[in-house]
Amino acid sequence: MNSVAQQAPGDTTGAIEPTNYHFSKSPDGPALDVRSYNLWYGEAQALYDIDMEIQKGLVTAMIGPSGCGKSTLLRSLNRMNDLVDNLKVSGEIIVNDENICKPAIDVIALRKRMGMVFQKPNPFAMSIYENVVYPLRVDGVRNRKVLDETCERALRGAALWNEAKDRLTESALGLSGGQQQRLCIARAIASDPEILLMDEPCSALDPIATAKIEELIDELKGHYTIVIVTHNMQQAARVSDNTAFMYLGRLIEYGNTETVFTNPKAKRTSDYVTGRFG
């Protein structure tokens, strides 16, 4: 099924220009280090030689036009691409000094160390409480006290506690879209992962809910490393510390957000952020 075959480095023409690589570093160093990462869906190559150091405790945004590979890259970070048929990768992704692209890696454990939030809110058809504590149950935690505490912590962290605390046993499907997405965030942070991966988390939400999520991201950073894929350049500009611009599977520019938006180094980046294409 998911034969993530290792291949020798292929097309290296995608490697980013060093001049375009000017991100802000975090005092804690990199959380994820992507090195020469290539990815093929069958015969079609989707990612070309990606080199990216995602800094701990910072928010890294990935922007670019549709089909540029940002979601693919994001999902590579927690091996969610394994669910796709005929996937081939080469290169490395180092997390905590470990290359997670090796077949021998315990993918389940890896995913538990990262939380993922998807584009469309996808709460389980359970109560709010059960949704939030599901990661712990999967881990085998049964202690009611621990679960309760975790639930409250996670919901508070997702800024949902006040709205949800009286409805914990009600179905999560009864929440509004924005609330559901915050629930998914709560669920994602329930097991206290190091890294939060967010794949266009606000694209299905209205502006008010979006604003709340962005506020949340602001609160969460520092404690969590956040990688957020977004279609919305303004959002990237608002929330992120570093921004990566991708185009057709290649990383064009990766740098400090302010610089990328006000003074991009690559022409293509400036064309995109100024809206000449998109």
Binding site: I108, K112, F118, N122, A125, Y134, V138, S191
Partner: protein
């Protein structure tokens, strides 16, 4: 064996009439045996069943003793029909010179014992040898009367009508004779009365050879032999149609037929035989029964009365189907016409076309609905007729199913031989075993296909499953009979158990194998329908594939899974070919999977053989079972559709 023609026995007086009715109304398909009223009734009263007559024809009424014997033997219920009147005629050759007699004279001429002409107190053996000894004006001819034997109804009627009244009158006026009135009907055995056999026509021939003799026979015989013999007037009344019909002729009697109403359900054409005696062609002016000498009763019962006591059948007018279809077609045409008429106002051509197509489709849907409704009615009518004869409680609650023997014995209709429970149990057992075989395998395949197989391989697998589901059921039936059945029997024998070759287990397994492909596809679709997002989220949180399946996917797939199982059950219940071949036709009230069994569907087929008369219980049974099956399966299907609707999908196209 069930008899497929009426069996009629009894009076030889009635014999010509019965034969005529049989030939004209039953197409010659009835067997009529002249053996005398008494013998006929005796045989009739032996009980119910094909070995006994359906009808006893009688030239006299059944006596209370005979009726009681009938009841005791269980030859009931029965109905008596007066089909006509007859007169006992004293026929004489012209040479005898007898034109008129009184009944007293007949008594004196023929009784075994008569009052002593010498005036003695006791009655003596009949001394008279010549007619003129009895009455002045009577010819000096030896008394020799040819008549029917003791088994004959004519003889009984003769004794009752001609001899006994005079005898009793004499006893009343002379009670001291000490003669037992019960012996009033005894006729002399010294040769003056000759038992001349049942056949009246033969008797007339003998008369012609013996000119001085006198014959006793039925009016019909007189009519058929007019010219060869002349009737003697009795007590001043001569026998003819009016005098017999009105009862003026003293020796007039009624002719009867006795019919076992239970046999009306099982013997084809029996009702035609009975009603044949009353048809206008038979007894109207120029009727052929009249031509034979039957004097019709003053008021003939209608055919409805004939079957009174039999519950009237519900039946659709034979043209109903045609009418419904015609109406439906008319509806379609009307819809088209109206639609086109309305369309003339709509300007754009596209809208015209669209609306006319809409109307036509609506009409076609109406036609389809009409045909479906007709199917329902076709099931309903025989069922209602069936339940007029068999109690629904006996059907639904009885544990003894043996319609063949019930039909054979023609007994206890409504008393346990039509208990459907064993058959239902058979259907349920086969369905259960099929599900036990199919569900685990199908679930495992579906789960693996969903979570562990790549999309392309899964698509190929689905195509293969769909193709597999198109294998005709009869192939599985053959497999069951030739391979599975013997294998099960051998395996069971190896374990020391006793298994039939045609076992429930073999049939159930075969049905399960048949269900496997479709069930797998449906289960897989049920899993697929669950939105991927939740599963993805779970995986993203670090749940394993199995945990995701267990906690997220399966709970949400429950309606689809339920629907899949329900549809499989309903398919298993409706399976006919496989169980017909593999399970046998033995209805037992037991849950032994190694034994033979039968199902509702198999019984429907088995009972469809033979006669197809719709008022026959045997023919009604398949319809009853069919309706019963539909009533069971319909809620299952409805529930399945409800579940599928809850999971927001259209049902899969495979059945």
């Amino acid at each position: 064996m069930v008899r497929d023609h009426p069996l009629v026995a009894g009076s030889s007086t009635m014999y010509p009439f019965a034969v005529a009715v049989a030939q004209r109304q039953v197409g010659g398909g009835a067997l009529v045996l002249p053996m005398g009223t008494g013998a006929g009734i005796a045989w009739f009263c032996e009980g119910l069943g094909p070995a006994t007559p359906d009808v006893a024809i009688a030239s006299r009424a059944m006596t209370p003793e005979e009726a009681s014997a009938c009841r005791v033997a269980g030859a009931v219920p029965m109905r008596e029909f007066e089909v006509g009147r007859d007169g006992i005629v004293i026929g004489a050759q012209p040479a005898v010179g007898l034109q008129s007699l009184t009944r007293t004279q007949l008594w004196l001429a023929l009784a075994q014992r008569v009052p002593d002409p010498a005036g003695g107190p006791r009655w003596i053996a009949n001394p008279y040898t010549h007619w003129n000894e009895i009455g002045a004006g009577l010819p000096a001819v030896p008394i020799r009367v040819l008549g029917p034997p003791a088994t004959s109804g004519t003889r009984d009627s003769f004794a009752r009508l001609a001899i006994e009244p005079a005898c009793r009158a004499a006893l009343r006026s002379n009670p001291a004779s000490g003669f037992d009135p019960a012996r009033c009907g005894e006729l002399r055995r010294d040769g003056a009365w000759v038992d001349a056999g049942e056949n009246d026509d033969a008797l007339v021939t003998r008369l012609q050879a013996d000119p001085e003799a006198v014959g006793v026979f039925g009016f019909g015989t007189l009519v058929r032999n007019a010219g060869r013999v002349a009737a003697v007037c009795i007590d001043g009344v001569c026998p003819d149609l009016p005098s017999i019909a009105a009862g003026d002729y003293p020796l007039a009697r009624s002719l009867y037929i006795y019919v076992k109403t239970a046999h009306l359900d099982f013997v084809p054409k029996l009702d035609a035989f009975v009603t044949g005696f009353y048809s206008p062609e038979a007894i109207g002016p120029r009727g052929w029964l009249l031509a034979l000498g039957l004097v019709p009763v003053a008021s003939a019962p209608t055919a409805a009365v004939v079957t009174r006591g039999q519950p009237a059948n519900f039946s659709l007018h034979p043209k109903t189907g045609t009418v419904v279809l015609a109406l439906a077609l008319l509806g379609v045409l009307l819809a088209l016409v109206v639609g086109l008429a309305l369309l003339r106002r709509a300007a754009p051509v596209e809208r015209m076309l669209e609306r006319s197509v809409g109307f036509a489709l609506w009409g076609s849907a109406g036609l389809a609905a009409g045909v479906l409704a007709l199917v329902w009615v076709t099931l309903l009518v025989p069922t209602m007729n069936f339940f007029l004869r068999v109690s629904p409680l006996a059907f639904l609650g009885g544990t003894h199913w043996s319609p063949e023997s019930a039909i054979r014995a023609a007994q206890a209709v409504g008393e346990g031989a039509f208990g459907v429970l064993p058959v239902l149990l058979g259907s349920i057992m086969v369905a259960l075993i099929a599900l036990l075989v199919a569900l685990p395998l199908a679930s495992a395949t579906a789960l693996h296909g969903y979570a562990w197989t790549g999309a392309r391989r899964r698509a190929r697998w689905r195509v293969a499953m769909r193709l597999a589901s198109l294998v005709p059921a009869v192939v599985y039936g053959l497999f069951a009979v030739l391979t599975l059945g013997p294998a099960v029997a051998k395996a069971a024998a190896g374990l020391g158990l006793d298994a039939a070759i045609q076992s429930t287990l073999a049939a159930g397994v075969a049905v399960g194998i048949m269900l496997l492909p479709v069930l797998t596809v449906r289960l897989e679709e049920a899993l697929d329908r669950v939105p991927r997002g939740a599963a993805e989220a779970a995986l993203g949180l670090g749940a394993t594939r199995w945990e995701t399946l267990r906690d997220i996917v399966l709970p949400q797939a429950r309606p689809g899974i339920g629907a899949a199982v329900l549809l499989a059950v309903s398919r298993a219940l409706g399976e006919t070919v496989i169980v017909l071949m593999a399970a046998g036709l033995v209805a037992t009230w037991s849950v032994d999977p190694l034994g033979a069994t039968t199902t509702l569907t198999a019984q429907m087929v088995a009972l469809m053989s033979g006669t197809h008369a719709l008022d026959n219980v045997r023919t009604q049974l398949p319809f009853v079972l069919g309706l019963f099956l539909v009533i069971i399966v319909l809620p299952l299907n409805a529930w399945a559709l409800h579940l599928l609707r809850r999971s927001d999908v259209a049902p899969s196209p495979i059945f």
